[in-house]
Subunit: 125 residues, 2 copies
DNA sequence: ATAAATGCAAAGCCTTTGCTAATCT
DNA sequence: AGATTAGCAAAGGCTTTGCATTTAT
């Protein structure tokens, strides 16, 4: 995936601890070491890492997007107040739970991603 | 939920046909009848309708938020190219499908929403 | 050497907010 | 009349882009 730069290494390094951060949270962290760390560089690399499968972007209504190392896990719990996100191993996925870990669960959403018929046709042309 | 205005009725009316639209798609449609329909009014009412459970906001990485009448359904298929969204009745939910309706499925995500332990404690104070 | 990545600042997209005028009860 | 809602325009949050400079290979 292109050249290995100090910035890329620092970005990935910032994921080793802690919860799925927002871009701004990452930037704050990265600028403690390197005050000139560019916001553009961060966003460009986050996008690239998401494209190559290193990171995964997590979106939910009303919250800023968050990023996590892509472990392949597609089950998550998110706090609607602070935005904290935890991965959820398959074995922990039960329908209509009241609690997961320490989260008081309010609702859930299952989303399938794909390509609709019309867009499939458009791609073939 | 407050007064019934023409604008609110027009907004809900715009949902009777078609797929979960973005705010901008709705505005275009609403302005065909009423060219002065205000963007602010649209957004304020969309938020209010989401709060009172009339509408549901759908978010996914890389796409503008979309809105649909809240049928209580929490399973969806979304086209990663054009953003088209379909509800998915419970009976149609199968693990790792190749196709759903006419969508070629690429992946899926299950998200539980709740309140984490720390935020629960903060609320109690 | 040269292609790629960075930093900076400006632009962009989507959404919210402040304020005045209009509207419902 | 009084409170709510609409419209307008400006501001805001988050992300992307253009361009000159630096850096990895």
């Amino acid at each position: 995936m292109g050249r290995i730069t100090e910035q890329k290494q620092e970005i990935l390094g910032a994921f080793k601890e802690g919860y799925a951060p927002t871009a701004e949270e990452l930037l704050t962290k990265l600028r403690k070491k390197n005050p000139d760390f560019s916001r553009a560089t961060l966003y460009r690399n986050l996008s690239a890492f998401c494209e190559d499968g290193t990171l995964k972007k997590i979106s939910a209504p009303g919250m800023t997007d968050r990023y996590e190392l892509d472990t392949g896990c597609c089950y998550h719990v998110v706090c609607e107040i602070c935005g904290k996100v935890d991965d959820l191993p398959l074995g922990d996925v039960i329908p209509d739970p009241e609690y997961i870990y320490d989260y008081a669960i309010t609702h859930h959403e299952l989303m399938f991603y794909g390509i609709c018929e019309k867009c499939q046709k458009d791609l073939d042309m």
